[in-house]
Point group: C2
Chain length 513, copies 2
């Protein structure tokens, strides 16, 4: 009802705007404004929606041309690395049947965007790329695939846009699905993360690793009842930004955990290290009795061995406090964080992070093994084990943007090579002829969209936009059958016969690049 009213108000607002833009008679406009005010009164004072606001939806942003250049630079590095590891690419729709997403995200399901019921299927916007991937694998009965997928996902979360946390954001996912030997695909995900994050040059990276089976074994060793595992795991997941005392309070007071158990958990989750920590835990009195914990440690051992062979062990930290929020993980879990806070805004006191996103302070990638997800979609429950990693590219963008701003690096937002200018009036058609010649030769060419632009303005445009070459046509040149070729940077000019123009330009561009 109030929705209906809001729609009416929005429509009326647009009508008025259009009338104004069409310069309609003022009494006609006033009549519509009066209607609008009446509707607003009906809606009551608490609503502001009658006023047309020129903005992006909350938690979203436009990318301007410079941001697009930075984004494409990052994507191109990431895709290059995905291809280096032999991945194919797939794409899925931005929305899925709602039931496809149901029961996959635990507590975070409340953050899913639903589409309005306009008749037909019940739909939701995708929350990540992992569940659509699992749906794709099951639907196409795929036994094994290594794929990447770069696309936007949607979460109705509290945005913190200066920290790179949005409601619409890109994920760059790389996953390996198939029945394989332990830790081989998992270790490759760590290697890939190390390669990509190093190539992006965004600062010192640490890749934290842990294992869901070890976590569960640890919870069991601390005397926590099985049904509380996921919920206590969610609490542990907050440790990267919440002090232990607060997390403990949540466990004890909110989740009803025995304080003694909580203290035991506290002992474990402060541990992190490398191979020596695995050895220590293998001998731990309580853990060594837990089959799951021992299985997890065995995996970790192999994982670290391959990380060593792959030359990335120095970036890897085995960290017992790493838990990851999402329900679907079943084995190894990863999270990559940027060290040093120079490029990361501090979290505000009330701005707790979404546990389901990779948005911990400095967190730029996350993932893990999820062996049961495809089976949830298969009519016969046939499982396809999977492991993957997802790069949270918005955070990476904001670090890159900040670096570019700090280093005052200049980036072009176009790739134009030649600007065709005219020296006198009435030469628009002559310029068009030259443009045609250059376009047809594949040379990136612009011209002024004016019949009689001033030469100075045209040359200024070249300098401002860093277009390397200007081709100038004037009456004198026309008579001689030549054009002036001007190097914009040095302002050197020389005459070139029209028939030689394309090759002369190609030669110049070779020297410039």
């Amino acid at each position: 009802m109030s929705d209906d009213l809001q729609n009416k108000i929005a429509e009326l607002g647009m009508t008025i705007r259009k009338l104004k833009s069409d310069k309609a008679p003022s009494d006609e406009i006033e009549k519509e404004v009066a209607k609008l005010l009446a509707l607003k009164a009906e809606l009551g004072d608490d609503s502001q929606t009658g006023k047309f606001v020129l903005k992006c939806p909350k938690g979203t942003r436009d990318y301007n041309p410079l941001q697009m250049v930075i984004k494409e630079e990052a994507f191109s590095k990431i895709i290059k690395c995905f291809k280096k590891h032999g991945a194919v690419s797939i794409d899925t729709p931005v929305f899925e049947l709602k039931e496809t997403l149901t029961g996959k995200y635990g507590e975070d399901s409340k953050l899913i965007y639903d589409l309005a019921d306009q008749g037909g299927e019940v739909l939701s916007l995708r929350y990540d790329l992992t569940v659509p991937f699992a749906r794709y694998v099951a639907m196409n009965k795929i036994q094994n695939i290594k794929r990447y997928h770069i696309a936007k996902v949607y979460r109705r979360d509290n945005p913190a846009m200066t920290r790179g946390r949005f409601r619409e954001f890109y994920q760059c996912d790389f996953d390996i699905a198939g029945q394989y030997d332990p830790m081989l695909p998992d270790a490759e995900c760590v290697k890939l993360a190390a390669e990509i994050l190093t190539s992006l040059n965004i600062g010192q990276i640490i890749i934290k690793v842990n294992h869901r089976k070890l976590l569960d074994g640890m919870f069991a060793a601390c005397g926590i009842p099985t049904e509380k595992f996921r919920s206590i795991s969610s609490s542990v997941d907050k440790l990267d930004k919440t002090p232990w005392e607060e997390v403990k309070e949540e466990m004890v007071k909110e989740k009803g955990l025995d304080e003694h158990c909580a203290n035991l958990v506290g002992e474990y989750v402060r541990l992190n290290g490398g191979k020596e920590l695995i050895e220590k835990l293998e001998k731990d009195e309580k853990l060594s009795k837990e089959k799951l914990a021992m299985e997890g440690l065995k995996d970790m051992n192999v994982l670290l061995k391959f990380c060593e062979i792959y030359g990335v062990i120095d970036m890897v930290l085995f960290d017992l406090s790493l838990a990851r929020g999402l329900d679907y993980y079943t084995g190894v879990i990863f999270e990559a964080v940027v060290q040093g806070k120079q490029h990361i805004a501090k979290p505000t006191a009330n701005g707790g992070d979404d546990p389901g996103s990779n948005a911990g302070v400095g967190s730029v990638a996350g993932g893990g093994r999820y062996d049961d997800l495809v089976g949830m979609f298969d009519p016969k429950g046939r499982k396809v084990p999977c492991v993957g990693i997802s790069f949270g590219i918005e955070r990476i963008f904001s670090i890159m943007e900040q670096k570019i701003a700090e280093e005052k690096l200049e980036r072009r937002t176009t790739e134009t090579e030649v600007f065709v200018a005219s020296a006198q009036k009435n030469l628009a058609e002559k310029r068009a002829e030259l443009c045609r010649m250059l376009w047809d030769a594949g040379i990136k060419t612009e011209q002024a969209y004016k019949y009689n632009p001033k030469l100075l303005n045209q040359l200024q445009y070249c300098e401002e936009n860093k277009i390397p070459i200007a081709v100038i046509v004037g009456e004198a040149e026309l008579e001689k059958g030549v054009v002036k070729l001007r190097k914009v940077k040095t302002r050197e000019e020389r005459d070139v016969p029209r028939s030689e123009l394309v090759s002369a330009i190609r030669e110049e561009l070779k020297n410039i690049n």
Copy 2:
């Protein structure tokens, strides 16, 4: 209410699926199934939603790896051409405030996807990229910009997926905004369309052009009242797939047009041609009295002149029956169609096309001038004239896919250059060492994710996936400090010292490419 029930059913369906996948005790599963049946009974017989369906939402599709390769090939050609004409790139969110879209699409507004009201702003999925572009230009107070934007848009239309008509589909838009001299940006859009569609090699292209002012002047000349212009224009727009008699009936019976007027319209809309048609219309007794018509013809004259200079006049057809569905056009309009039906499925009898999309039979691009749209967003109604063209890439994909299938062209879906194989057991770590060496050298490398894969299987994988080089490590090679380098196609093998492996591979790849 029924929605709530459907959600419960969907959730229960997932629970049961998970129980089955977890191999839970069968009595536990049966209990949940009983609950599900009860809920379904409550919902009544008309609903099928309780059964989990493994599918994409209606009117959408996944892209598999081969389709992605074709898509990226098309995008890369299109983007190259956009950049050749000096365009920058921008991106906008997939949804907008609902009121941003309100009042822009005329009758087609009913096809807009709304998001559910989950509190907060009222949102809709974008219907095209033009309105978000106009919002962007107004919001950022931009005076002029030439940008491209490739992204998916959403229309709750009747899908006809075999004909390349989807509810989620890509648009590739190129627009020029700014106060410029007549027809210079407009003619460049035609030139660009000709270049792109030629480079895509999808068959003979015709670019139809017309002018909204000429259409309006023509309607006036036929005695049609002003308030019926847009509605009669919508009827004319159907002429590319509906016979005149049916369109006339719609005009007369549904839209209440005088039959005499309709007959006059019928005389005009059957006309098409080139410059000679402009001359004829300039002398037309009725048209020559209409100021708007004369303005339109003057523009068309200039447009065709520049199309001639740009070398694309042979692809251009001035066609009085071209009307375009969308409300916002104010000047020149374009539509590119593929000639010859070999690659185009025939429309079904009841499958009328969405007048707002570029989905006429064979239509692969459309656009025009819209000088008032930015002003509708500007608080002061400040106008920024725009012209642009949008490529309907799904139709282009289906033509390309069909060609590839017909010509039995083989495409790789990965770019892997080297496969690292082992000749005996227990060499997984040795393989990993080699992979590290190659990855770190930037060479695209894969290996088997098995500890002890069979050599034959590994070599077969290379042949099936057209990986050009295999590097084989075995005990004999390890002793000698070499590896075997195998050219997969010719099966030639030679030993290479490990220290020379990277350069030997680079050399081989040069010869292969």
